[in-house]
Symmetry: C4
């Protein structure tokens, strides 16, 4: 089995914007993406499988096994449709990150996506009382576009690199001529634990960008529901984070 | 050399059910599969080789070398034929697990297999006096089908993941529309040693499912015979288990 | 995404000579190459991407993300044109070094390159007051050609191996029938820090070979400007060096 | 660059027998093969390169770089021709061993080889005063054929596995229908050092099998000459052995 995307439903989308939130530091991206999928009642239309995930199956409903996967969801909007990618895992190998990110970009290019937003956490290494949202882009013009939002584009908070799928999908989207934005919510980072506050901060920016009306007060509740599922895959997350963690120096803060 | 299956005999099978028991925790699956092959006088008809096995040859009969491989056996039944896969090794790489499991599924799909049973051990981390058999499935309907057997489908004993070929072949069989069941016999887990009691527990369930009449009293004797062969490949097993063990957190019990 | 070279401008070059300086010990090669690109006002015409780089993006101008890459530059000369390769990273895997070096050679062969010069640092493990330049070649005839330059071809300073892209591109160029020279500037080696003196020593040889008139007094200033960019990618370099360092025994001095 | 064999001279061989001696424990195989090449004045006709070797070049004659490679030699005999493979390195990855062994077998099959002899060392872990030669085969019939030679086919000295190219080329030759023999000379094993005595023991058997008249008294002298070259590649050997060593348990003696 190689990295591949299984299409469950062929969809024609109207000016789709692509939003990605995969597991990572603080599970910020995954929680934010999961919230969108749940609140917007999005529909799954494709699944991504890869030999670069851990070689195991998850047991849902106690005894029903499913391979690790990422899932593409969509919903219709007034002026434009939304595609969300979330899932169980990121790659556990360095090469796999490139392969999976490449597969994602080829797929969404086929859907007509011209705009990409990836979401992740930024590990501060200490408690964060009011998490900021740090941004990165494919081109300076994107900074201008979102300049009035409360996103810190490195003026106060300079970071050097973005590791993993949040970074690579952003970077590769630029190479495909897409307009890309990465939103990172500040979080403690270690130990690995889901941080709803950081996800909330990212979501507040995102609903403005998407011009959505979402009741963010429900987030905590939804996070608690997700936690149950997430805890069941703790092994996967810890291993994945450990693998990704190998790729940083101690004094470099991880961004996932 | 890439992962490939060498067909020794072309067979046409009647409604074949596929049963897999590879080396792993307690060698539960391998012993159970070896017992079936021996007692049912099954015939080998294919061999699987892979570059994801350890790069060594085993010496049988003292001096005759053979590469590591897995072996497919079959026998005729009244209403349906049986295919068993057992062998020397599982993959020692993460990607290899996906590649080998994928090759197995493509092969048995070609044989017309619609039902899959994988067997393994579940490491309790402590002595088990009367080993239970824990089950996982591809779909809830399979739980119903086997509901009256003494299989614990997570009601009392919840597990989160199944690592390695037992898990992946189960999970991928579901993706191919096959009906899959994984039977795991409780065993100590560490140190690595063959556990005939756990294999016996799994076999008791299996003979009922297959509606076979096997003299399970001979199991201990057969296990002793297998032990000789198994001890010769101890290096392979320990290395394989060590590689697979890297993929778990300390507090997660291994399932092989 | 696989290793590939993205051509930005199709160029026809006159008897091009190829010069490579990638990150490595003391950043000797990279600094020397960067100096050439800057002083000769060279133009970028191709980029190399690879799944064997670290899975991350760099943030330039604070917030603009770009994937790790190497870059090909060219400039016109009187009698012959010059091609320079420099970049963010070397491979972090052993296989990747072969894949990337092979891709580089296929590309420059297509450009008509017949001469190759790779530049790197040689880690002495101690302070070096006046760094020598140590040379290696594809053929003894090349030693004769450059015999009057102040290059130590192993008469006083014997080294056994050259690890990484400096070595492999040299070695593989010989297999393609090209004439290759590797210039290594002596440097401390550890800790990892940019060594302008060693780069200066290599550049002094290089400008003679290329018959260029460059103001090398500006090197220190340019290095300081590069340092800013380099420090931002410290994580990448340290990781890369750590990976490459694994491949040496303690008492073998690293050559990059 | 992928594993490939570069043919320098197209040869038509008469009933060729293939003999392999690559670096490994005690350098037994390599020394024995080197001796044959030297004494029989064999001619190089092909080279094997692979991305599974270490990513470095060796410097011969002080400053002339060459990529790591294995080399095929041949010489004419009265009744049959001889092909010898020796070289700088074995694979440093597990998959690479399979890939390289497969490439070797495909190549010699094309040459018409029906008989294969691989040579290596067997690490006893203690001083060996009179090294025995331990044998392994592809088929019991081969034991009969060589039964009168002083080869220990496991009657007194049982070993379980043969790791690396000596083992895999033997094992895979059997799968190709060739007749294979592996000769392993007993040696200390650790620390890694060339053992001419063990090579001598293997050569004594080999000259009988090949019906050659070689002056084995010169071996020590030739080994000393080889040592110089071998010491220059110490880094490569140690790394390679370290990589291969990872694949054994402490109490399993390494066979290379």
């Amino acid at each position: 089995m190689k990295t591949h995307i299984k299409v469950l439903e062929k969809v024609r989308l109207k000016k789709p914007i692509f939003i990605q939130g995969l597991p990572g530091i603080g599970n910020v991206g995954r929680v934010a993406a999961g919230y969108l999928v749940s609140e917007l009642k999005m529909k799954k239309f494709a699944e991504l499988y890869s030999q670069h995930f851990l070689p195991l199956v998850l047991l849902h409903d106690d005894a029903v096994a499913s391979p690790l996967r990422c899932e593409f969801y969509y919903c219709r909007g007034k002026s434009r449709d939304i595609v969300v990618l979330t899932g169980d895992s990121q790659s556990v190998t360095s090469e796999g990150h490139y392969e999976i990110s490449g597969a994602i970009l080829d797929f969404i290019e086929g859907l007509g996506v011209k705009e990409v937003i990836t979401m992740g956490g930024f590990a501060e290494g200490k408690e964060v009382s009011v998490p900021r949202v740090i941004g990165a882009v494919t081109d300076k013009s994107v900074i201008k576009k979102y300049g009035k939002m409360s996103i810190d584009f490195g003026r106060e908070h300079q970071i050097g690199t973005i590791v993993g799928a949040s970074g690579l999908v952003l970077g590769l989207s630029g190479m495909k001529g897409m307009e890309g934005l990465c939103l990172m919510g500040e979080t403690v980072g270690l130990p690995v634990m889901t941080d709803p506050k950081a996800a909330d901060a990212v979501l507040h920016i995102l609903v403005k960008i998407l011009n959505l009306k979402l009741d963010l007060s429900k987030l905590e509740k939804i996070v608690m529901e997700m936690e149950e599922k997430i805890s069941r895959t703790d092994e996967v997350h810890k291993k994945m984070m450990a693998e990704m963690g190998k790729q940083k120096e101690e004094n470099v803060r991880y961004i996932g």
